[in-house]
Every structure is written in C-alpha cells, then in structure tokens.
C-alpha cells in the first residue's frame, strides 16, 4: 500500500450501531456543563427535594472530588467539567402514551419501541434522558401495595423507605462513580414489593441517552420484602455521538428473607459512551438474588454486579454476557460476597471479542470469616473471533474459611476451522455460520431472558456480527 494514499475512512463502527440517529430535543431546562456545588444545588432546587437529599448530594460531591479516577480496569479519559449533569425534557411526567411528546415518540419509533410497547405490560417505565416521561402502573399491582415509580417521585412520596435504604447498600464512599451518581442522580426506578407478593410478569424499563455530552445518572432502588418475588428488566439502546458521553448508574437491591429478585439488563451503548455502573444487592436469609447482565457497545464498560449474602441460606447468581468490537473495552464481571454460613453463589460469564475489541472478566469471590459451609462456582468462557481481539480474566478469590467449596473454570476459544467448515458445508455463508456459532455460545444465557429480550439479544448480536467476516 502506498503511503500517500488517503486513509480509508473507518465507518464500520457507525454502521454496526443501527441506532445511530438523534432527535432534536427542546429541553425545558439544561444545566450548565460541569459539576460543582452550584449545579448540585440547582438540581436539588428543581426537584424540590427535602434537605436530607440535598445534603446527601453535597456530601457525595465532596467525596467524588476527593477520590482519584481508578487506574485499574479500562482507560478512563473523561473531562468531568465538559458534561451536562442534568437535563429535563418535559415539565411533567406523562401518565399515558398520549401525554408523551411527539418528538420522544419519534425517537421511540426509530428504536422500534412502539411495537414492544404494545406487548409491554402496564408495568412499563420509559426513561427519556434524565426523567421518566412515561409510565403507568397496573391497578392491581397498586392494590397489592406494590410501588413502581421513578426515584424522584419516590423521594417525595416515600421518604421513610428512601431514608432507610437509599445510599445504604452503595454509599457514596464506595467508589468515585458511585459518589458522582449520588451527587447528580436523576431518574431511575424505585420498586417496593410488599411481603409475600409475587409479581408473575417482568417489570420493565426502557431508557436511553439523547443529548450531546450529556451524562445519565439514574438511580434505582429495589426493595423486595420477605417472601416476595419480582423480576425487573431494563434494556436500553443509545444513539451515537461524536463526543464522549458518560453513563454512570447506581442500582441498589435489598432482598429480604425468603424473597427472590432477578434483575435483567441488556445494554447496547453507542461506541463513545463510558458505562461505569455500580450494582449491588443484599440477600438475607434463604433469599435469592440473580443478576442477568448483557453488555454490548460502549467505549468502556466497567460493571461488576454484586451480591452480598448476609444471612444463612442466601443465594447469589450472576450471569453476564459481554460483546466487544472495534474500539470497545468491556471490563465486566461479578462479585459474590459470602458473609454468612451455608450461602451459595454462582457466576457464569461469557464474553465475545471481535475486530480488535477487548473483553475482560473481572470477578471477586469472597468468603468472610464465619461463612462456613458456603459454596461458590465460577465459569467464565471467552470466544475470540480474530487475531486482533483480546480477552483477559482477572479472578480474585479471598477465602477465610476451610469448609467451603470453591470452583473456578475458565476457557478461551476461537471459532474453529472445522466448526466453520461444517456449517459452510451445509450451505451457510461465513457470516451466517459465525453468527450462529456466537449465538450458540451465548445461548445458555439468552434462554434465561424473557422472550422479547432474547429475540432482541439475538438481533443485536446479528447487527454486531455484520461485516465481521471479510
């Protein structure tokens, strides 16, 4: 190749991301770029928050400012003063679909959400930018005492629950990004499931980022009372922009005795987004907490959903899928902390890297003193599609008891020539064959997803795989 030939523009990344569009928004309010006491106070003013929340935000800001940016994980190059921390697109929250502004509907149209919308049950929450703009809660849920609302509303309407749990599972001191979220958070879901109530359909949320250089800092708190059962699902796609964008959520979950919670996420971020999320659950006696976590896209994802098993018999399960392509680094994994005897934990992680993408599994298994007779099993499998791509495993294991069972299996594989030839010999093209192998690889996790998410996941994989053979 001659050196004076103009470089071929690299368009592939953009083409892969089907959701590469934006809709003009007429935000009613747009805070100044950057974060400081003035901005945090302004957010608290607009939300008309009680003093305790304002103080919590300001204290969190101090912690954020005092903590250095982590050096481990992935390369973080963010100018925190060049980001919008709050944006409110509409004055009030839409109660019905008719109340949702047309431009927001247009964006949903492009995402194909109205079709999903029809199928969605009344528990849908859709978040547009920082605020929940549309949501309705099925009446019988309300009758059962279930609370499903955005977290801003919850601060006003359920102060007793919020004051008891908000920021208690993940305090702002936990890490720099949890502190940032605590200072500027907006939106997210608050869910309370009363004792013994079982919700037999998944509660769902759809949200997305849609403002240039805008950070999204939603805050979710889920409380599952004794013997209750809930499956919460969030999925999101984001339009793509040229400037860096930051998404830094905090999700706190409390699963009381004999209760069960499953939290399913599929995230397909645009390739310029930092996705730095802290998720943690406390599971009490004989309770079960499951995180199902799918990560596609983004520039850098750092996300390690955690379950702390606080009392005997608690179970924690984490299933995670990561798919990284050109310019993407998925540093994803899981943490299981056994704080009590007879607790059981399992991590299954699957990662796929292609076109120079990098996937890392980073996991912690910790058995605290006294957590005897605990069991933990970790399986992490990586599939690397080409020589440019990379996969790493960073398992951390800390065990303070003797009578525990700890298992760890890791595998790294490449699509074998023989597997490929076998599928080609049956008439499949290379593209179809490699997509089929990748879908097969993640099938054990996809089959755990609700139907429409499983279909969506396969479709996203197909989009990611387009142009991967050549």
């Amino acid at each position: 190749m001659s050196t004076d030939a103009p470089a071929e523009p690299k368009t592939e990344i953009g083409e892969i991301n089907k959701y590469n569009f934006r809709t003009e928004t007429t935000g009613v309010f747009k805070a100044k770029k950057g974060v400081n006491r003035e901005v945090v106070n302004q957010i608290s003013d607009i939300k008309n928050e009680p003093d305790w929340m304002r103080e919590f935000r300001l204290r969190s800001l101090d912690i954020f400012e005092s903590k250095p940016t982590p050096k481990w994980g992935g390369a973080i190059d963010i100018d925190f003063q060049d980001i919008f921390y709050y944006l409110k697109p509409t004055d009030h929250q839409g109660k019905t679909w008719d109340d949702v502004p047309q431009e927001i509907k247009d964006t949903f149209d492009k995402l194909g959400i109205p079709e999903a919308e029809k199928k969605f049950l009344a528990g849908v929450k859709a978040q547009f930018e920082s605020e929940v703009v549309y949501g309705s809660l099925e009446e019988d849920l309300a009758k059962k005492g279930v609370i499903f609302t955005d977290t801003d509303t919850a601060v006003r309407e359920h102060p007793e629950l919020l004051r008891e749990y908000f920021g208690k599972i993940i305090p702002p001191e936990d890490n720099k990004f949890a502190a940032l979220n605590s200072a500027v958070w907006s939106g997210g879901s608050f869910i309370y499931i009363p004792k013994g109530v079982s919700i037999d359909f998944p509660l769902q949320a759809y949200f997305r980022i849609n403002a240039e250089s805008m950070g999204q800092f939603e805050r979710t708190l889920i409380l599952v009372d004794e013997g209750a059962n809930v499956h919460y699902v969030e999925g999101c796609t984001a339009p793509m922009y040229s400037t860096e964008s930051l998404h830094s959520a905090v999700v706190e979950v409390v699963v009381k005795r004999n209760a069960r919670c499953r939290y399913t996420t599929i995230q397909n971020w645009a390739n310029n987004i930092y996705n730095l999320v802290t998720k943690r659950a406390y599971a009490y006696g004989d309770a079960t907490m499951e995180w199902v976590d799918g990560n596609l896209g983004s520039k850098l994802t750092m996300k390690y959903p955690a379950v702390h098993m606080m009392e005997p018999g608690a179970r924690g399960e984490i299933l995670s899928i990561a798919f990284s392509s050109a310019g993407q680094h998925q540093d994803a994994g899981a943490k299981l902390v056994h704080e009590a005897p007879n607790t059981t934990g399992q991590i299954i992680s699957k990662s796929i890297s292609k076109n120079g993408g990098r996937s890392s599994y980073r996991g912690l298994v910790s058995v605290h003193p006294g957590a005897h007779n605990s069991k933990n099993n970790v399986v992490c499998d990586a599939l690397i599609l080409d020589a440019e791509s990379r996969s790493d495993t960073y398992p951390y294991i800390e065990v303070s008891e003797q009578d525990v069972q700890i298992g760890h299996e890791a595998s790294v594989s490449r699509i074998g020539e023989e597997q490929m030839f076998y599928l080609l010999s049956r008439g499949l093209t290379e593209q179809e064959a490699s997509t089929m192998i990748v879908n097969g690889f993640i099938e054990p996790l996809v089959k755990e997803l609700p139907m429409e998410y499983a279909i969506e996941m396969n479709r996203l994989i197909q989009l990611q795989m387009e142009g991967s053979v050549g």
Binding site: F421, L423, S425, R426, I437, G440, I442, E443
Partner: protein
C-alpha cells in the same frame, strides 16, 4: 438432463504432503458407488476435497458438476449447488438447536440465490416437514431441540447426518463411514434410511469398510483406493470380496500404491507421536 459429478486426475495435498495422486471418477445422478480401501488410502480426503475443506489443497486436476468448475466454489456454494458430505466425525455446535441449524441450511440449499438476512422457510412448513422426516427415520422428536452434535453418541451423530441428507436432498452425496461405531441394528437402520432417501435418487459415493451399509444400497460400481489412487473398479461383487477377504489381494497386486500407503501411514503415526 442427468446430473454428473466428474473428477479428473485429481491431486490433493495436506500441507506439503500429497495424499491423492490422480483420481478419476464419474458419478452420474442415480448411481451408487462404493469407495473402499485400507486406512490411510485417501478415501476421506477425496470426500473433503469434493466438499472444499480449506485444509485440503487441490494441486492439479478438476472437479466439475454438470460442467461447472466446482473447485472455483466456496464450500457453501458447493452445498447450494447440490453437493453434500456426511462426515465421519461431525462437529458439535454448542447452543445451536438442530432445528434452527437445519432450517437455515435447508433454506439456503433450496434457495441458492437467497441473500443473507432474507426470510427463512416459514416455521410451520419447516417444522411439519422436519417432523415427518424424523418420524420416517424413526427419530425421537426431542432430537430437533438438542444442540447440534453436542454430547451426541456416535450413533446419534450418524443419524443426524442422515437426517441432514434427507432434508437437504442433494444431487450428490459422499457418505464417509456413516456406519462406523454403530451396532448391527443401527447399521441396518442406517442402510435402510440411506436407501430410502438416496438410492437411485441421488448420486451416492459411499465410503465404507463393510458391506452392511451396502445391503440396501447395492453399488453400481465399487472402487478400491490404495496410496491415493483408485486401483480397481468393479461391481458389487468386488465390495463383497473385499469385505470377506480384506485387502491382501489388492496390496499384492499394486505394490507401488501399497508402498505409498504404508509411507503415509508411517508419517501419520510419527506426527501423532510428535
């Protein structure tokens, strides 16, 4: 028009090692050919070269299908042109259900011009056909929901290959030891199934050490391969003879080919040890 698969003076190497040294074979649609020969003689190599395995390099000679150059085609194009191979050791594709795999393959083979992403055969129609074919082959319907060759027994793998043969309905099929690892009953069932699906309806090239698979598929021609060449061709009585008496007569009659065969076997053994 009768379809013809024609192999002329085919030389094939694996790495730098020549395996086939000038194979000539004409397979007419509707004919059954048995391909026999001792281990290491190059039988599977011929099959894999016909199917287009990237590790098997054709150094000279030609393969044509109705006059079209098969060597110019990628393996998937060969499949869509009507060529099939039942593998001795089919690959497992974990997480991919037999039914999904077969629906994709069947669609592509039946609609050779289909572009990626275009619709597959409608689910209902496909399921009905698959169910009928499986019943016909006396296969448990549960099979369709299992992952392709994943954790299959030897027998199940061979059944799965026969099911694919039934669904894809190729013009020409190479069956590479579709009887190996099967007990007597299973071989009889395989033999019946192949006869039912392919005998006189396709051009069949059956690679086998035994005559049981040929019981219901009497070959029109039997070829003996030794040292990468077809050294003898006869009728079905040749297959019977080889099955009963082995290859001693052949080895003595073609000492040069036998020497090559021994050399290749010895090299394979060395590689296996290295």
């Amino acid at each position: 028009m009768t379809h013809v698969l024609k192999i002329e003076d085919l030389h094939v190497s694996v790495g730098d090692k020549p395996i086939l040294r000038g194979v000539n074979l004409t397979l007419n649609h509707g004919e059954t050919h048995a391909l026999m020969g001792p281990n290491g003689s190059g039988k599977s190599t011929l099959g894999l070269a016909i199917m287009g395995h990237p590790g098997y390099e054709v150094t000279s000679g030609s393969i044509t299908l109705d006059g079209k150059d098969v060597l110019e085609m990628a393996p998937d194009e060969r499949a869509r042109a009507g060529i099939f191979m039942a593998f001795q050791r089919p690959m497992a594709i974990p997480g991919v259900k037999m039914a999904d795999f077969l629906r994709h393959a069947t669609t592509n083979v039946r609609r050779p011009d289909r572009k990626e992403g275009e619709e597959l055969i409608p689910m209902r129609e496909f399921r009905k056909e698959l169910r009928e074919k499986m019943e016909h082959l006396r296969m448990d319907s549960e099979f369709a929901r299992r992952y392709v060759n994943d954790g299959f027994s030897g027998g199940e793998m061979k059944r799965a290959e026969i099911l694919q043969l039934a669904m894809l309905q190729p013009k020409f099929a190479v069956l590479d030891e579709t009887d190996s690892g099967l007990d007597a009953d299973a071989v009889r069932l395989a033999s019946e199934s192949i006869a039912d699906i392919g005998h006189q309806k396709m051009g069949l090239l059956i690679i086998t050490h035994h005559d049981k698979l040929l019981e219901h598929n009497p070959p029109d021609f039997t070829h003996v391969m030794l040292g990468g060449r077809l050294v003898e061709t006869g009728g079905k009585e040749l297959a019977e003879e080889l099955h009963q008496h082995g290859y001693d007569r052949i080895r003595k009659a073609y000492p040069d080919a036998e020497a090559l065969n021994q050399k290749l076997l010895a090299e394979d053994a060395e590689e296996a040890l290295a």
